[in-house]
Subunit: 193 residues, 2 copies
DNA sequence: TTGACATTGGACACTGTTGTCTGATTTATT
DNA sequence: AATAAATCAGACAACAGTGTCCAATGTCAA
């Protein structure tokens, strides 16, 4: 999935591609409209170099998004959503992905408005699909409310995690409180009682 | 607060100002980066006319934001947050403001990134201050959870309302379901049980 | 009706961004 | 050491947006 059959690039090219996507990730996190020049500057590379590897700005954004979602998806997977009590599992998954997601907080939001809703949903699939079985399992055994769809619950959880990230960044929530607050709120919103 | 002492404008000027802010509201809702030209086109006015009344793009945005927040604030006030049982009152307030807020859904989000967090908070005051007493009242009598701040609860409610608006717009939630879903989720997130 | 106010339509300079190109230079690979 | 790949430095055209200006025209108010 990384670069096996298509073409063999030189080692420094490979390195630069990594630098560029990393820099883009950073830059876009603080400013969703960061220019190619700004990204190049951060990557320690000349602007034209970016165009060596990414034909357009759009294509760079696509690559960055895919990298971010893949990284979050991996973190979710490693938290083993299918193991144990639904409530415990959800708690574990949220906790494990929270730091990951908070990095990309702004970055993943770029797609909103940039892509049609359908496409956006498709690209979030690597993350969302992993939640579905967990939530449905919880709904089946009465741990989570089942008067709304699992998709809605996912959206609510995501919103709360993003919110926690925002509030932390804004200083309205302390490092010490944020995790507990986020978790209890998410569980309370999703819980059945 | 509208235009009492500062200076008397001609009637057509007054009318155009209204057209412009309305057009800006519309345009910015669908595209947060809508240009002055696009706004002028919608207002049925030439671009230079906008600059007659708003010296810069920024100042127009400010005016639009203030208009939007004022409108939402009024709707909240009319729902009488201070009357009756906290749970009932909150339900009433959310329901009453929901349609209002869903119009401005995207518009109010423009400020994020445009303004420093502190300033942003200040401008949201007309809306948020009205929630505080209601939430604190509910926290005091055990209706709402009190292990987190009232400010956090406000943020959570706002996030859920915005989310509902997004999901409705994306067709992931039906007109019939959206209000119930939003309300039950918000109350469940805020409730103490 | 008249004079002041306001809008029009068009032009203008300025800035920032994207994407392309080129020739010189550096770097990895064999 | 030789060759191919990649980067650099800088220029360029094209475009879109902001803010300003002006002369002509339209509109309100007394």
């Amino acid at each position: 999935m990384t670069a096996s059959p298509p073409k063999r690039r030189r080692a420094d090219a490979e390195r630069n591609i990594a630098s560029i996507t990393d820099a883009a990730l950073e830059a876009l996190a603080s400013d969703p409209d960061a220019s190619m020049a700004e990204i190049a500057r951060r990557a320690g590379v000349v602007r034209a170099t970016i165009y060596m590897h990414f034909p357009t700005r759009e294509s760079l954004l696509d690559a960055v998004m895919e990298k971010a979602t893949a990284q979050v998806a991996r973190a979710i997977r490693e938290a083993e959503p299918e193991v144990g009590e639904p409530v415990e599992a959800l708690q574990r998954v949220i906790r494990a992905t929270w730091k990951e997601l908070s990095q990309f907080h702004g970055v993943l939001a770029i797609n909103i408005g940039r892509l049609p809703a359908k496409e956006l949903r498709r690209r979030h699939l690597p993350m969302t699909t992993q939640f579905i079985p967990l939530l449905e399992r919880g709904q089946a055994d009465g741990a989570f409310r089942s008067d709304v769809s699992a998709e809605w619950l996912i959206a609510v959880i995501r919103a709360i995690v993003h919110l926690a990230s925002t509030e932390l960044q804004a200083g309205r929530l302390s490092q010490a409180d944020v995790e507990r607050t986020m978790l209890t709120t998410a569980l309370s919103a999703v819980g059945s009682q």
